[in-house]
């Protein structure tokens, strides 16, 4: 398959998947056993029954009294104009809330991912290089154990040790509450200070799986013929590892990272909750707790689209990195 074919195919897949998710998002929230209006009203009025006229008025306002297919069309129109409704709780536009929180999730996921990849690759290289040694076996057991730990628990332990007991880092939020920063540097350093523990948690939670993949990929590469060629040429072990083996092993890693982005999003949700880090994951958690359906629906949609797009980005990176995909295959003698 030629290079442009690879990308075209993927673009079409991405677009259809996003559309499918938009549709699913609509129907998902229509299978509720109870009427969302009841849930909206009850905390406000604190009574079992409500004036049917008020209920009718609210249903009309939310568009819940129209036939389903009309609701669907309105929904589609709203989504494409980025009108995601209004929060039941705060009465602010959902889109605004999401915009505020999106950055924090992106920062957390990207930094956590980078740290995780660095850890996984370095340890993976060492483990594969010294295969069978104590370092290798030790890392294997540690990685396996880490993948069996509940993600929120890891966050809790880190909080307990580094924040509560050692008082080195703050317990929650992105910046000190109620403090206004005099300049950008002060703000950034406070932000980074708050980011440290959640970021480490994200990295620890996902590095185990990546490490195992990296180690396996490298061991696979070591048994390939071209590594034997490199030895016959007389290249030093270090040159063979870094200039011949590593590039080959990193390719399947890109694919794995792409697949695991959804998993990392789940991890982000839990980490954000434990550290009260105001990102989209925490938003979803709060929306569920308070039954704030518009926010829930909006945040869920955005998160899913985010994952799909990141996936796509990773696939593009792979397509550019692997020469077998990048170049048109030429079969001339």
């Amino acid at each position: 398959m030629s290079a442009s074919n690879y990308f075209n195919k993927r673009i079409i897949l991405v677009i259809t998947t996003i559309f499918a998710v938009i549709v699913i998002n609509f129907f998902l929230f229509r299978i509720m056993p109870s009427n969302p209006v009841d849930i909206l009203i009850s905390p406000l009025q604190g009574q079992e029954k409500m004036d049917p006229k008020i209920k009718e008025a609210l249903m009309h306002e939310l568009g819940l009294d129209r036939p389903l297919y009309i609701q669907f069309i309105i929904y589609l129109k709203n989504v494409f104009t980025l009108n995601l409704g209004t929060s039941f709780l705060s009465h602010r536009p959902v889109a605004t809330i999401i915009k505020e929180r999106l950055v924090n999730t992106l920062v957390l996921m990207i930094s956590g991912n980078i740290l995780s990849i660095l850890l996984a690759v370095s340890l993976g290289v060492i483990a594969a290089w010294k295969r069978g040694s104590k370092t290798d076996v030790g890392s294997l057991i540690s990685a396996l154990t880490m993948t069996s730990m509940p993600m929120f628990w890891v966050g809790g332990i880190i909080l307990l040790i580094f924040s509560v007991r050692l008082d080195l880092f703050p317990m929650y939020g992105t910046t000190k509450i109620g403090y206004s920063h005099p300049n950008l540097i002060s703000f950034l350093s406070d932000y980074l200070h708050h980011l440290t523990l959640p970021m480490i948690t994200m990295a620890l939670v996902s590095f185990g799986g990546l490490f195992l993949i990296m180690r396996n990929a490298l061991l696979d590469v070591f048994s390939e013929d071209y590594i034997f060629t490199a030895q016959a040429i007389g290249l030093s072990e270090r040159t063979i590892l870094f200039k011949n083996a590593l590039q080959n092993a990193l390719l399947p890693l890109i694919t794995v990272i792409a697949i695991r982005i959804g998993f990392m999003m789940s991890g982000a949700l839990l980490t954000e909750t434990v550290f009260s880090w105001p990102g989209l994951g925490y938003t979803i958690y709060q929306a569920v707790e308070f039954r704030d359906y518009p926010v829930l629906q909006g945040a869920f949609l955005i998160i899913t689209i985010l994952v799909i797009l990141s996936n796509f980005l990773a696939e593009i990176i792979y397509g550019l990195a692997d020469p077998r995909v990048r170049t048109q295959s030429n079969e001339s003698a």
């Binding site: 396996l144 959804g262 789940s266 949700l269 958690y285």
Partner: protein, 293 residues
């Protein structure tokens, strides 16, 4: 079953057990699981302490580990060791049921897609791709919010989001089996689809499914703990995730009540690890494509 079939089955079983016992990981995993199963099942014999929230000894709440309470007490004065033992029941039960259901769904979808092919395969595989791409935990949260939280709802929510792995593996296996002569000759004889699937395909695919399910129990236990932690577990039951939920809600973190937080997590980790080891050992035996490292 005829006697010859029985002997073949018994011989296969012995061979399988022999292979399994060669795996150090597998044995270690089984040991861990036996310990936890034992303490869960016989919890009421092993401990006298009450587990209902109303029966807690409020005087003794939040006490660190001591002679009376080996692992300390929770926010309402219940013995944590006892809670852990009983908690194992729900965690293991939900884990098992969810993994079993998930495996079942995955098998049906994988078999149908692989065997029938055509548009059925395309549709099913597209559904699989879409479910795969939606982030799992957020989806579980949305479903829990919509359906409500109860024992069976949790099992439903977990199974409906985790069947994709099994579906893909089963389909791949069916595709490779389909090429083999015995399927073609069965069809030529006139065997019905159901018979071919049930008699020829299923027995061949079964070991793979079993390994997947065992691996899946560990995953399901972790999912349940996450859901419970977030407050979406069955509020009436005790699971390790629920204990952690109570711990965080009661402020155990900021008050440094480590005995409330660390032990439940260790239990979850050990059990998940146990299932991972056993599942891995099984996978080594049944997966035709694994090369030894």
């Amino acid at each position: 079953m005829s006697s010859s079939r029985l002997t073949i089955f018994r011989r296969r079983l012995t061979k399988f057990v022999g292979q399994f016992l060669e795996s150090k990981l597998g044995i270690f995993g089984v040991l861990i699981l036996i310990i936890f199963l034992f303490t869960s099942i016989f919890a009421n014999y092993l401990s006298d302490y009450p587990t209902k929230a109303t029966q807690g000894n409020l005087k003794d709440r939040f006490s660190p580990p001591n002679n009376k309470y080996l692992l300390g007490t929770d926010d309402v004065g219940r013995d944590i060791l006892t809670l852990l033992m009983y908690g194992g029941r729900i965690s293991l039960l939900i884990g098992f049921l969810a993994a079993f259901t998930s495996g079942g769904i995955g098998t049906i979808i994988g078999l149908t897609a692989g065997y029938f092919g055509g548009w059925k395969e395309d549709v099913l595989m597209r559904i699989t791709d879409i479910v795969l791409v939606i982030p799992r935990l957020p989806l579980m949260l949305v479903l829990s919010a919509i359906l409500g939280t109860s024992f069976w709802n949790i099992i439903f929510v977990i199974s409906v989001t985790t069947w994709t792995g099994t579906a893909r593996i089963v389909r791949a296996q069916v595709l490779s089996l389909k090429e083999r002569a015995f399927i073609e000759s069965s069809k030529a004889i006139g065997a019905s689809d159901l018979r071919i699937i049930g008699v020829h395909l299923l027995p061949n695919v079964f070991p793979l499914i079993l390994a997947q399910m065992v691996l899946g129990i560990g995953g399901a236990i972790l999912q349940e703990s996450s859901l419970s932690f977030l407050g979406l577990g069955d509020p009436l039951s005790i699971s390790w995730g629920m204990i952690l939920h109570w711990a965080f809600s009661a402020g155990a973190l900021s008050s440094n009540y480590w005995w409330f937080i660390i032990p439940p997590g260790i239990c979850i980790t050990l059990v998940a690890l146990g299932f991972t080891f056993v599942g891995y050992a099984l996978d080594q035996i049944v997966n035709p494509r694994i090369r030894s490292r």
